[in-house]
Symmetry: D2
Subunit: 392 residues, 4 copies
Amino acid sequence: MHALNPIFLPGPTNLPEALRRACDIPTMDHRSAAFGPILASAMAGVKQVLGLSEGEVAIFPATGTGGWEAAVTNTLRPGDKVLAARHGMFSRKWIDLCQRHGLDVEIVERPWGEGVPVEAFAAALAADTGHRIRAVLVTHNETATGVTSDVAAVRAAMTAAGHPALLMVDGVSSIGSIDFRMDAWGVDLAVTGSQKGFMLPAGLAIVGIGPKALAAMETSGLPRCFFDIRDMLGGNYPYTPPVGLINGLAVSTGLLLEEGMEAVRARHHRIAEGVRRAVAAWGMTTCAARPELCSDTVTAIVTPDGVDAGRIVRHAAEAYGVAFGGGLGEVADKVFRIGHLGLMSDVMALSGIATAEMAMTDLGLPVRLGSGVAAAQEHYRNSRTAPVRAAA
Amino acid sequence: MHALNPIFLPGPTNLPEALRRACDIPTMDHRSAAFGPILASAMAGVKQVLGLSEGEVAIFPATGTGGWEAAVTNTLRPGDKVLAARHGMFSRKWIDLCQRHGLDVEIVERPWGEGVPVEAFAAALAADTGHRIRAVLVTHNETATGVTSDVAAVRAAMTAAGHPALLMVDGVSSIGSIDFRMDAWGVDLAVTGSQKGFMLPAGLAIVGIGPKALAAMETSGLPRCFFDIRDMLGGNYPYTPPVGLINGLAVSTGLLLEEGMEAVRARHHRIAEGVRRAVAAWGMTTCAARPELCSDTVTAIVTPDGVDAGRIVRHAAEAYGVAFGGGLGEVADKVFRIGHLGLMSDVMALSGIATAEMAMTDLGLPVRLGSGVAAAQEHYRNSRTAPVRAAA
Amino acid sequence: MHALNPIFLPGPTNLPEALRRACDIPTMDHRSAAFGPILASAMAGVKQVLGLSEGEVAIFPATGTGGWEAAVTNTLRPGDKVLAARHGMFSRKWIDLCQRHGLDVEIVERPWGEGVPVEAFAAALAADTGHRIRAVLVTHNETATGVTSDVAAVRAAMTAAGHPALLMVDGVSSIGSIDFRMDAWGVDLAVTGSQKGFMLPAGLAIVGIGPKALAAMETSGLPRCFFDIRDMLGGNYPYTPPVGLINGLAVSTGLLLEEGMEAVRARHHRIAEGVRRAVAAWGMTTCAARPELCSDTVTAIVTPDGVDAGRIVRHAAEAYGVAFGGGLGEVADKVFRIGHLGLMSDVMALSGIATAEMAMTDLGLPVRLGSGVAAAQEHYRNSRTAPVRAAA
Amino acid sequence: MHALNPIFLPGPTNLPEALRRACDIPTMDHRSAAFGPILASAMAGVKQVLGLSEGEVAIFPATGTGGWEAAVTNTLRPGDKVLAARHGMFSRKWIDLCQRHGLDVEIVERPWGEGVPVEAFAAALAADTGHRIRAVLVTHNETATGVTSDVAAVRAAMTAAGHPALLMVDGVSSIGSIDFRMDAWGVDLAVTGSQKGFMLPAGLAIVGIGPKALAAMETSGLPRCFFDIRDMLGGNYPYTPPVGLINGLAVSTGLLLEEGMEAVRARHHRIAEGVRRAVAAWGMTTCAARPELCSDTVTAIVTPDGVDAGRIVRHAAEAYGVAFGGGLGEVADKVFRIGHLGLMSDVMALSGIATAEMAMTDLGLPVRLGSGVAAAQEHYRNSRTAPVRAAA
C-alpha cells in the first residue's frame, strides 16, 4: 500500500513541487555566467528573509551544524569565553561544538521546556565587567522541546549591560517560518539550514553575518578551512557548490517573499495554534512550559507517565505511514513531536492530528477520536485568510 | 500558500511517485528493441488485472471514451441493436456514442442512483428471440452516482436466456480498484483508462478483448481507423505510441499485482467504508440507492434540499485547496463526490473527510466538526491490515 | 554503459527539460479554475504557431492519425470525393484512413522522393467542373522521404481553378519547425501532434480549423464521437483531458513564440543544411529528388545498392546507443533517416553525423571518417546566430 | 535556442537519469527504518568501489575539500608534519588546508604537469629517521593539469623506507573512474566527492578510512566537530543527512558495480584515449608532461603561445552552449580542459571534440575541422566493447 501522506518532522519538511524541480536540474557549469545570478538571487533572498540589510550571507554545502561551526570558528579565538543556555538537545549540541573547538562556555542550565533565561544572561553579562564573554549564543527555537526564545530580549539585556559580545543565534528551525530580524534585534550571526523554513532538502548551511561579525573576522578566528567565510565572500566558491540546492534556495526565497514574511509567519502561527488546540482537546500538555514559549514550527507533546512516546512515533509510522518526531535526549521517551514548519496546510495538519489520535487510541491512551481534529478544524475555519494553491 | 493536499476526484487520481517517474522518461525509440518488452509487460499486466487469460489487450493513446468507441466500432455493424441502461452520466454518454455511430440502442431508463437492472435486462433478452441484440452494455461503476452494478448477474441473465450477444463493460472507474473478472464473468469487451485504478495521468484507453469479441471483429465493424483494434494486435502501433504512459502502465500493473488484486480491492473497500461511515455520521445519505450499490471508488453524497452541492465543491477548492468531484447531469446540484480510487490511504482519506466537514460547516450545513472523521478513524484503526509505505 | 546521447528520430524529438517538467505535474482538477487558463494559453499559442487568426483549435488526447480522422470525419460526408497524392508512407496512410471511412479518394501516384504534384492537382481540379472533390489533402512534410511540399502552390492552384474544396494539410512533421501559415496559405484544416515541432511526448492530436472548415462542420460529418470537434469548442472537454501534456503545450508554444517563429525556422534550416552538407561530403544522396524538396526536419539518406539501410540503423543503436529512423514502406531498406526536428542544436547534430559516419564505416560503406562532420562544422560555424542556452 | 548538449567539465559530470531520479525523492524520515538500509547500501557500495575490505566509510554533507579536512583533522595532531607535493591547483589547496589547521607541511615543489615525485618522497621518507612525518599526502589525479600519479609507487617507497606515516590520497577526480585500490595500495585515508566518478550532484564528501587511520583517530585529532568521523561511525548521523544524495550514492555504486569496476575503468580509458588522439591530430599537446601521466578523467590541452585558453572556453560556451573546463592557477590562461569523467559515451565525447574544433577554428587556431573527430572516431570504432544503453 502506497500513500502520499505528509510528514510531520520538525525538519526536513515536506517539499513543494516547485522546489523539487528547482533542485533537480541538469549539470550546470558553476563557473559560467549562468550560475552567478542564481547565487546572487539566493543570497539576496536570504538577506531579505533574515531581515539583514548590511552584511553578508555565506551558503555552505553542509548542514546547520556546519553553520554553527562557521559562526564560531570565523569570529572567535582559541579559549574565548561564550555564554549559552542549555535547555534542549540543540542548545546542548552547540555548546558541545564550542567546547570541542576549545572555547570556554559559560553554561546556564535550564529545564528542558524552558526558553533562554534572559535574566540569568543579563546577570552574567553585568558580572562580566572585563568583557571576557566574546559571544552570546541563543537557540531561537529549541526543536527538541518546541520552545521559542526571545532573541530581542537577549539583545536588550546586552545593550542594557553595555556589553560588546557578539550575538549568535541558531535559527535553524525558526528562520523562514517564525519572526526573525537580524537588523532589528541586533543579531550578529544567524545560522540556519535548507531543510526547515526554506522547504528544501538538507544540504546547505546558511549563515547571515552582520557588520560587527564581519569586523570580528578580520582579527579573530579559529583554525578552519572548509568553513572559512572569507573564501566565500563576493559569491566565490573555493570548491564545487551544490548548484541545484542553491537554485532551489533562490526559488524558495522567491516563494517566501512573494507570500510576504508577515503572511508566512501568520500562516505558521495559525497552523501551530490548531495543533495546540488539538493537544488541549486531548487533555495533554506541551513540553513548552508556558503558552508564550510554544513554537510555531514544532509542537512537542508530553505523554502520560508510563507511556513511552517513542511507541507512538513508531506505531504511527508502521500502521499509518506517517512520520512524527520522536523525543530527544532528556525527553527522549517523554515527548513526541508534530512538526509543522515549512510546507504545511490546514488540510495536511488535520491529517497529522487525525493520525496522532488513531495512534494514541491504538496504544490505549485516553484520547477521544476526532476531538483534536474538531478543535483544530474550528480554529482553522475561523481564521482562514488567503486562498490555497493546491498544486504546489 | 502552497500545499501538498491530496485530491479527491473520482479520477484522475493522486499519482504515486513511482508512476510519475515511470511516465517522465527521456525520448525512447518506439521502434527499438527496448520498447517491445515494456509494451509486452504492460499488456500482460493489464490482462492479469482484468482477469483475462485468453484474448488481447489494446492500448490506445486516448481516454475511456475512445475505449468505448473502439469496443463498439470494432465488433458491431451499422444499425446493430444494443441493450443498455441509462442511470447516470457515463451510461448516458456511452449510449450517445452508440447512437452517433448509427447503432440502435434499446434503452432501459433507471433512476440515477440505481444500478443496472438485471431483471429488466433478462426480460429484454428473453423477448429478443431473434437475437437482434448484438451487444449488452454495462456501466460497471457509474462514476456520477457512485453506484456499482452486478456484471456477473447480467452475464447470468444472458446465459439463462441463451443469448449470444456480446457483453461489453465500462470498467473505467472500477478496474484496478474494484473486483473485476473478464474470464469468470464472461465479459467480452472491457474498457478503462489510465487515470483511474491504474493511477496514471489521463491519456490511455485500455481495452480488454475476449475470444468472442476477437471473433466478432473478423466479420463485423463500423468505419474506423484510429481505433481499429486489428492494427494494434501483436504489439504493433500504427502511429507513435505514448511511450512514457505505457511504461507507466507496465510499472502500475506491477505495483498492483505485487500488492495482489485481492488486497487492492480490500484496501479500497475499507477506505470507502470509512468514507461511508463519515457520511452516516454527518446524517447524510449517498446517491447510491442502497448500501449494496455503493461504490468502493467514489462516494456521491446527497446534500439537503436547497443546498447547492456545487458550492461545497467550489468552497473546498478555494478555501482549503482540496478538489472534490461535483455533481453531473441530473444530479448536478444535488450531490458532491469524494473520489477514493487509485492512490489513497487512510490518512489521505481522513484529510478529505475533515475538509468536507469544514466546508459544509462554513456553508451552514448541520454537520458536527470531527464527527465524520471520528467515525472513519474508528473504522480505519479497527480494520488495519498491511503496513503503509510512506514514500510512494 | 549509460549515455545521454541525443536521439535522431523524425519524431518523437529530444525533450527539453522545461517541457518534461511542464508535463510531469501532480494531478490537477481539470474542472477547476486553474485548468482553464492553461488550456486557453495552449490553444492561443497553437493558433499563433499555425498562423491562424480566425478559427479554432482542437486538442485531442490522441496522435496525428487521430487528427487526420478528426479533420475528415468532422467536415465531409459519406462517399465524398477527396484529392490526394501518394508519395510516401504518411500520405499513403492518410489515404487509407479516408478509404476506411468510406471516402472516394482520387489518388495521384508519385514516386517516393517527389512532393505533392501541383500541376497534376491543378489539372484534376480544373477537370472537376462539378466540384465533386470536397477536399484536397496535402502532406506538407513526408516524414518517410524527407520531402517538403509547397502548400501555398496547391492553394494557388485551387484558387486558379476557382475550386471550393477544403484544403487539409498534414503538418505533423513540419508545424513548429518549418514555415507554416494557415491564414496566408488558405489552409482550412491543419493537423499535427505533440511529439514533433512542439517537442513534447506523443499523446496529443492538434487540429487547426479555419472558418470555412467550421462552416462545413455545420452541415457535414461522418459518424464520430471521440473525435467530434463540436464537443471540444470553447475549451470544454467531453472526457478527461491529459492535463500535463496540455500544460506542456502551453509552455512549448511559449518557448517557440519567445524565440520567434522566424528564428525557429531559420534554426531548423541551418541545422538541416549542415546535415545535407555532411551527406554530400559522404558522396551520398537524399531520398528527396531535388534540393528544393529537402525537408528541414528530417533527412532521408539513400544507401548504395545492396546495402540494407536497416543495418545502419540497428548497428548505430547497438554499437553507439544512437537512434536514427529506418526506412518505411517502399524505401524500407533503401534509406535511413536523420531526424533533426524539435529540440536540436549544432552540437547534438554533429554527434549524430559523427555516429552515422562510424556506423557506415563499420559496415564497410566508403565513407571517410570526419568528412561529414567537417562539412557540417564549416556550415555551422559560419552561420551561427543566436547564443545557445545549454541547460534547456 | 535550447539544447541538450553534454558538459565537459572535469566535474561535476553529466547526470544519468537514474541518478537524478534517485536524488529527487520526497522527504523521508532519516530516523526511520527505511533510511538505514539505504545508508548501509551506499556505504557498502563505496567500500567496494574503493577496494576497501576492512575499515569504514564516512559520508559528509560537504564536498571533497571537507573530505580533506576530515582526513587530516581526525588523525593528526597540532603541529604534525606531513609530506606533500605541490604540482597543481588541488595539491596546492590541500597543502593550504593543512597549513590553516596548523600542520607543518614539507612541500616538494614540482612543475605543473608532473606527477607526485616518488623518488623525492622516497628520499624525504628515508631522511626522516625520527618519523616526524605523520602523513604522506598524494593527489591521485590532479584535476587542474590532467595528471594521474602512481599511488602504489608512493606506498612502495614508504614500505621500502619502513616508514609508519599514514598515506592519505585525494581521489576526488579519480575514484569511480580510474583504477583505485585502498587495500592493495595500502591507502589509509581516501577522499572523494559525489560529483565526479559517482555521477551525482555536488554535496557529499566521501572518506574511506582504513584500519590504521581508525587506530590513529583514537589517540590523535585536531579541533573538529562537523567533520568528526567518530560521530558518524555505525551509520549514525549527528545532524540531518542529505537523504536524496545518499540514496543517489546507493544507486550510483550499484550502477558502477553492476558494470564492473574493471569495465568502468576500461571505458574511461578508451574514451580518454580518443580525446588524446584528437589532441594529437590537432597538433597540440597535453599539460601532462608524459603520456603515462595522462589522466583518464580529464585532458588538459596546452594552447599555443599567445592564445588565451580562457577565450576558447568562453567562446565554446557562448557560441555553442558547451562547457569545457578553464585553466586554473599557474596554467590559468595556458590550458583548457575537456572533462570526460563520470557519465560519458563515445558519442558525447565526439560532440565535445567537434565543438572544441569549431571554437578553436573560430578563434584562428590552426586546427583542421574534423581532424580530431576522425582520430577519435577511428579509435572508438576499433575499440568498442559493450553495447550502449541509450536511455540512461
